[in-house]
């Protein structure tokens, strides 16, 4: 993406949200974005997903500009946003169903994905019968079901309790390491960012700019929990937190 800027009109006032953000994410890269609340991280993902165009600048995927919603880009929210009247299986099969895939194929695909996300046996459950963590697993499976090349994740584990979060992070890493899709992962959890990503972008307070971009030289495959107390992890954490703390304080 190139020199992306965006402003929202709120009550007639123009509020700049993103200021001149340029980022290049390599294929197969896992990029984490951290920043203070309201710095435009989610707005950035909304623009990349094609939900709305930026005020200025442009987003390209493989050289082609993103104009409107693109099935090659999968997007997962902090809220599971599952269709409450559909079972897990039908929720995961929803994307393929919209694309017109035949019933038996999309169902087999959904079954595989539910197994992959650890939900075998819960195919017939409705979202209201599942825990938060399980719903987020269904949501992940649903995102993967359209087989996107790029995954946009907006604090996907942000609404979970600390233990469930660790388990899901671990499993997501395992799934990601199988096929290494390009990931842009927004979080406000610096631990999460360092434990999972190849690079971390620290955003400034609003309007969001990229304050620093740090490549993490931690080995893979990783464990979310095991590396957490090593010296290198600690160095990276200190450095990123220095940048981030300043912005968080600035954001009030």
């Amino acid at each position: 993406m190139e020199s992306l800027s965006h402003a929202f009109d709120i009550d007639g006032r123009t509020v700049p949200v993103l200021a001149d953000v340029s980022l290049d994410v390599a294929e197969g890269e896992f990029l984490a974005i951290v920043g203070p609340s309201g710095c435009g991280k989610s707005t950035l993902l909304n623009i990349v997903s094609g939900l709305f165009p930026p005020t200025t600048g442009r987003v390209t995927v493989d050289g082609a500009p993103v104009e409107g919603i693109n099935p090659r880009i999968g997007y997962m929210f902090a809220r599971d946003a599952l269709l409450p009247w559909r079972t897990s299986l039908a929720n995961v099969a929803f994307g393929p169903e919209l694309a017109g895939e035949p019933a038996d194929r999309r169902e087999a695909k959904a079954r595989d994905l539910l197994r992959l996300t650890g939900l075998a046996g819960f195919e017939g459950s409705y979202p209201s019968q599942l825990s938060q963590g399980m719903r987020q697993r269904v949501s992940l499976a649903r995102t993967l079901a359209r087989n996107p090349d790029i995954l946009l994740m907006d604090e996907p584990f942000g609404a979970l309790d600390a233990q469930t979060k660790l388990v899901l992070e671990e499993e997501f890493l395992r799934i990601w390491e199988r096929d290494r899709k390009t990931v842009i992962f927004v979080t406000h959890d610096l631990f999460e960012a360092i434990a999972m990503a190849d690079r971390v972008a620290v955003f400034s307070a609003r309007p969001g700019r990229i304050k620093s971009l740090v490549a993490l030289d931690l080995p893979r495959p990783r464990s979310v929990t095991a590396g957490r107390f090593g010296p290198r992890f600690q160095d990276l954490y200190d450095r990123l937190w220095d940048d981030l703390r300043y912005e968080v304080v600035a954001a009030g």
Partner: protein
């Protein structure tokens, strides 16, 4: 904790659950007993007051007279025509009104321009007490079944329109966005997201609409008709037959309650994905 105490605790929990279940059942049967008591007391007081000469049964009838009248009406079969006519009118008005109301509710919800233009007219027609239209409908469509069907229709259609519109407008925006991101086009969005998420609203409307369809049919019959429970009521009242009025009222009450239960059962089946169905 030793395994023994764990097992003991599990046993205790089960026993407590059993106890709670039994207590609930007992509470339910106590409630039923009290309900029956209220009915018996009411009917007894009514019967007693009319037999004791406190009130003249000519004006208020009494339970034994009504029971005898109902018995005669059902054994002779004379009442079935009237029940059939009223149900037929209410049913036709309900179905046509519901279909038209749901379709137009969706149309208004999905086409902003249409709803902006028509909004004042919908509000105006909806504010009009539509039973006031009954004389006009009878003038236009005659004293037969048609005018009652139209009256029931006019009551039902707006209830469903308003409810469907509200349901379609109250869709969780997250669901709409995620569905669009998953590739839903406008038609798929309507059919697979907005329609199912409006179902609880539509059902609330259908339940209300069913009651109003019956009201439409009966009010139309009371004004002028050749058959139907409303006709029975106004005809009986016209010849000072209060027992006949009460018999017809009781039949209407039972029909309305049965229809409502039928609707609730259908709703439970269709909305089994909901954690619980709130209220009523």
């Amino acid at each position: 904790m030793s395994p023994v105490s764990v097992a003991a605790e599990a046993g205790a929990i089960e026993a407590r659950a059993r106890h709670r279940k039994r207590a609930r059942r007992q509470e339910q049967s106590r409630t039923n007993l009290w309900r029956l008591g209220v009915l018996v007391a009411f009917a007894g007081a009514w019967e007693g007051a009319t037999r004791g000469g406190l009130i003249n049964p000519f004006w208020v009838s009494n339970p034994s007279l009504i029971a005898a009248d109902l018995w005669k009406a059902f054994t002779s079969g004379s009442v079935f025509l009237h029940i059939g006519v009223t149900l037929y009118e209410a049913f036709l008005g309900f179905v046509t009104g519901a279909v038209a109301g749901i379709l137009s509710g969706f149309a208004l919800a999905r086409w902003d321009r249409l709803s902006r233009v028509l909004d004042p007219y919908v509000t105006a027609l909806n504010s009009l007490p539509r039973v006031a239209l009954a004389p006009l409908f009878i003038l236009w469509f005659g004293i037969g079944v048609t005018s009652k069907v139209i009256l029931a229709f006019s009551l039902v259609v707006f209830i469903l329109l308003v409810n469907t519109y509200a349901g379609a407008k109250n869709v969780d925006q997250d669901l709409v966005i995620i569905s669009r991101l998953l590739g839903a086009n406008r038609r798929q969005l309507t059919a697979k997201v907005i329609l199912p998420s409006s179902i609880p609203w539509i059902f609330a409307g259908l339940r209300l609409g069913l009651a109003y369809a019956l009201i439409g049919a009966v009010v139309g019959e009371v004004i002028v008709a050749q058959a139907g429970l409303g006709f029975l009521i106004s005809h009986s009242a016209g010849v000072f037959n209060t027992t006949g009025v009460f018999s017809a009222l009781i039949i209407l009450m039972v029909i309305a309650m049965l229809l409502n239960e039928l609707m609730k059962a259908t709703e439970r089946k269709l909305l089994r994905w909901r954690p619980q169905i709130p209220g009523i």
